[in-house]
Amino acid sequence: MSILINKDTRVVVQGITGRDGGFHAAKMKEYGTRVVAGVSPGKGGSFVSDIPVYNTVYDAVRKDGTDTSIIFVPPMFVKDAIMEAADAGIKLIICITEGVPTLDIVAARHYAFAQGAKIIGPNCPGLITPGESLIGIMPGNIFMPGRTGVISRSGTLTYEVVYNLTSSGIGQSTAVGIGGDPVAGLYFIDLLQMFQDDPETDSIVMMGEIGGDAEERAAGFIKERITKPVVSFIAGQTAPPDKRMGHAGAIISSGSGTAKEKVEALIAAGAKVAKEPAEIPLLLKTML
């Protein structure tokens, strides 16, 4: 039915007593996600939206049996929060926080990887398996269960595209926002492979943007390994060089990371590339 998360996924919210953490913990619970615990050092023993709060992730894991965490703590605490989650046995860590120093993510990712944990984000909207589990800050109501996997570097653009998909009657198996930072956890290739292996996913929508060469690498991977139809969209065709377009990772430097290169690579790999978001469902329908 999905990748990474489903209706049985039990979630702990790190930073649940913060404004965003508390708000989205409630929203996720409302959606039907099994939010079983929150963590906030010093607030152990309290409750947020009837969710028990602990001082450490260890306590949450021990008492409420969870292996997935979502992080809302401020940037300076993210490194420690990721490492704590991984050390406590969490296997999937979704980091929403924006503005995390890159070297912190480098270290935390390395540590988590060694502990066998996967990371999504930071600076991402999270992920959703529609109708089952929403772990993130996406508006759950625009999604619809279905058989198209969605991978995206951005937030609202994903919503725009998913909104178009849903309006066209194309549901989603799982939609994953991989985040807009230069160094992040699971990325295109990892997720393309997961969707390829998922018997309940028939096609894949992949939304990239300027900066780095992850889309080019993904194109190479699609060519070699992905047999399911892929429709793509690349944002930032008009972005000037050397300017950070909102996302820390969305920057064209030394002439590389342009949208043109990415689009060409994807087309060469056999993916269809939409010129505008509204074209995605149309292209997808031609391929199914």
Partner: protein, 380 residues
């Protein structure tokens, strides 16, 4: 965040990385004074601008004596390089170069860690070397918790040098550079060219350091080095209001929630024949005050002929967004036509609220963009 070469060299000196003696000067007089004070004979004058390709643009010149130095400094000061006006130069000792190398530490997106990049082909664009002779470039990923122990620095240095004395100099330099990288939260530390002088000394002849904007909060000394251009000042101002903003040269002002959607909006404006005046991500919420501030920024650009507001209402519902917009525009006096496109939760309710106002309201991105392009380009 970028800093000037001379500031990079100051940091190098602080970490014990060998550079040449030099001084930053803002006038011909200062340059001559520096020449005397440093006791130079042959000297080099280098434009200090935050862009590459200074050499090709004529921004780096040698001077054989004091008189020449004055002339050279005068010719470089005030010149324009890729849109930057040179307001200061670095006057430094000219080195007798025996060989040139390339060295950098960079945060690599794919390896997802710091990577050391080295080549015996120095003094040229490393991207060119990568294209023509990739085998001449060595890349060594760094384990974040392990860092650069002696053995790794020695291995790396051995890839550049054959002489063991140079290997040891290189090893020490590499360890110090990594320390600088980590301690200052740099995202790039590049020396090109790293040279060996005819005396056999290893010298960082250039210094390019970029810093991670996300880490500036814990690097006050680095942040203090930031000299925003006029353009960047506007971006910084927007940032202080909670926006991501980039100035462009078109006539359609954009206000979008979310960076990806904002880029896609710009792209579609272009696709539909218009030109975006800016990138502006107003972020997650869109309360009236933010809209007011964002409009002020857009209207401060006299090229803006129309404004497109493109909001995807997710967690925040479209009717709330519409209410906020109406509230905001009570405070804003403008003749500029405004196209609003609301999509997502309660979009119909939102659009209905904009009915019978002076706004142009659109249902889809395509419709909205067609409208705003038409408004700025009535001939078509």
């Amino acid at each position: 965040m970028k800093i000037h070469e001379y500031q990079g060299k100051d940091l190098f000196s602080k970490y014990g990385i060998p550079t040449v003696k030099g001084s930053v000067c803002r006038s011909k007089e200062e340059a001559l004074l520096a020449y005397d004070k440093l006791g130079l004979s042959k000297a080099v004058v280098k434009a200090q601008v935050l862009t590459g390709g200074r050499g090709k643009a004529g921004g780096v010149k040698l001077a054989d004596n004091r008189d020449e130095l004055g002339m050279v400094a005068e010719s470089i000061l005030g010149m324009g390089i890729k849109g930057y006006i040179v307001d200061r130069v670095l006057v430094a000792e000219a080195v007798d170069i025996a060989a040139e190398y390339y060295f950098s530490f960079v945060i690599d997106r794919n390896v997802k860690s710091v990577e050391m990049i080295l080549s015996r082909e120095g003094g040229v664009e490393i991207e060119d070397v990568a294209k023509t002779s990739p085998e001449k470039i060595h890349k060594i990923p760094i384990f974040p918790f392990v860092g650069v122990p002696d053995f790794l620095a020695r291995k790396a240095s051995s890839l550049l040098f054959d002489d063991y004395g140079l290997i040891v100099q290189g090893k020490e330099m590499i360890k110090k550079l990594y320390q600088l990288m980590i301690e200052t939260d740099a995202s790039l530390v590049e020396i090109n060219p790293l040279v060996v002088s005819k005396n056999g000394d290893l010298i960082a002849l250039d210094a390019k350091i970029n810093f991670d904007d996300n880490a500036l909060y814990r690097q006050p000394e680095i942040e203090a080095l930031f000299e925003p251009t006029k353009e960047e000042q506007k971006e910084l101002f927007a940032k202080s209001k909670g926006f991501s903003f980039v100035q462009l040269k078109g006539e359609i002002g954009c206000m979008v929630n979310g960076a990806g959607l904002a880029m896609a909006t710009m792209d579609m404006i272009k696709l539909y024949g218009g030109n975006p005046a800016n990138f502006l991500d107003i972020g997650g919420s869109s309360n009236p005050n933010k809209v007011v501030e964002a409009m002020k920024i857009l209207m401060s650009d006299s090229d803006v002929k129309a404004v497109l507001i493109n909001i995807f209402g997710g967690i925040t519902r479209c009717d709330d967004v519409a209410r906020g917009l109406l509230e905001a525009f009570k405070q804003i006096k403008t003749e500029i036509p405004i196209v609003i496109r609301l999509a997502g939760t309660n979009e119909k309710e939102g659009r209905e609220m904009l009915h019978d106002t002076h706004f142009y309201s659109a249902e889809t991105m395509g419709e909205a963009i067609r409208k705003v392009v038409e408004l700025t380009n009535p001939k078509k």
